[in-house]
Amino acid sequence: MTTTEAGLLLSCHRAGREPEGRVQKALRVAEGDAELGRRLSTQAEFDAQIVAVIHCLAPPENLRAKLGALQEATGGAPPKLRSHLATPAILAALAGVLLFVGVIVFFIVESMSDFRGRESVEQMLVTTSRLSGGEFETIKTTTAQLADWLLLRGYEGYEAPPELAGVPVIGARVFTQDGKNIAQYLVDRHESVAWEFRASDFGVEAPTEGQIIEKNGWVAAVRPGGEQCSVIAFRGSKAEMRTFLAALPKP
């Protein structure tokens, strides 16, 4: 360590304190240098004077009481609550509670949109989503006049959905799922596929309010009520289905 470096680092020394590391080396250099020794002595004397005066800066006798009052006045309690909320443990607990509440809300919402036999309808939607179009027989009729055509192919009790009454039908078929007949037809609206089945055949309890379900990029609306359960579906989202249903004539 050079004398210049030692001279600089000596200012980090305070008399009565244990010197550490490089300051200790600087002190050793100062021991062999008269000028540095003199500067160190002057510095120590100055520090001692200042520290002596600083120690006379006594806090007021009632400082603790003042601080307590000041803290109360500046609202000590709310910061405590806020600061506790910011601790990792509390944040983790809050996140856990929020997640739990979120799961509960999810299940409630899901249960609200559920109905008996939903799985069967979803299976029908999955089957429909895999159709190529060639499965249907081409016909030119309307939903209101489809009953006889379906009866000839083994489906009895067809009831045209009032919302789709008179809508052109461009193809139809009767197929079976779990040994039960389902009437299905292509509607000339929004490239839709509609189908109808006897609700009791599939254990479906048609919802009292219409339900919308999604599967494989397809969306289906289940018509409420009745022994004959009607469903209309197309490729799209729930929002698109809501828009579509809103545009249909009211029965």
């Binding site: 304190r17 590391g21 520090d47 200042i50 005066v53 603790r64 601080l67 000041l70």
Partner: protein, 173 residues
């Protein structure tokens, strides 16, 4: 008293182990602000904010470092809004370390001189004169290397000496 209890916990010291902890912090605030009322205000505000932070610091030195840093930041913020007034000259007929009756007056004048020092020299010297930290810890606290801290301390001492003894300074060539 709630405030006293919080301070005790904040400093994590008992009167037996560190009776002067609160006094030291008060002195630091006073040296950095140059005003007793403001120093109390700074202490109070720091105390109000201290609880949650200090719960997460395990060592006594860590707690002291947090407190000193918080006090310093508040003082600097306060100084920015109310810069130091022109320092009054220290009475030359009462040397430093004089009779106890005189000392408190001189001590508060010293605080005013301290307050007039520039940053970071003021903080460096004020923390250096506390009984809390080693020189390495002070450098870490002020985010300086040892040479920069040494330079700051040299400058601070010189400026303070000139402010306290202007007559001596005038006689020097």
């Amino acid at each position: 008293m709630r405030g006293a209890c919080v301070w005790s916990r904040a400093l994590q010291t008992s009167p037996q182990t560190n009776p002067s902890g609160l006094a030291e912090l008060y002195r630091l605030a006073l040296l950095l602000t140059g005003h007793a009322k403001t120093a109390e205000q700074v202490l109070g505000e720091t105390l109000a904010a201290a609880e949650a932070h200090l719960d997460q610091v395990r060592t006594e030195t860590g707690r002291q470092a947090w407190l000193v840093q918080a006090i310093r930041e508040r003082c600097l913020k306060n100084n920015a809004s109310s810069p130091p007034a022109a320092p009054r000259l220290l009475r030359t007929d009462a040397p430093l370390g004089a009779a106890p009756a005189v000392l408190p007056i001189e001590a508060f004048l010293l605080a005013q001189r301290f307050h007039a020092l520039p940053e970071p020299e003021r903080s460096a010297l004020a923390i250096f004169y506390l009984d809390f930290f080693t020189i390495g810890q002070i450098a870490e606290l002020l985010k300086m290397d040892l040479e920069t801290l040494a330079d700051s301390l040299t400058t601070a001492r010189e400026l303070l000496r000139r402010a306290l003894h202007p007559a001596e300074d005038a006689t020097q060539p």
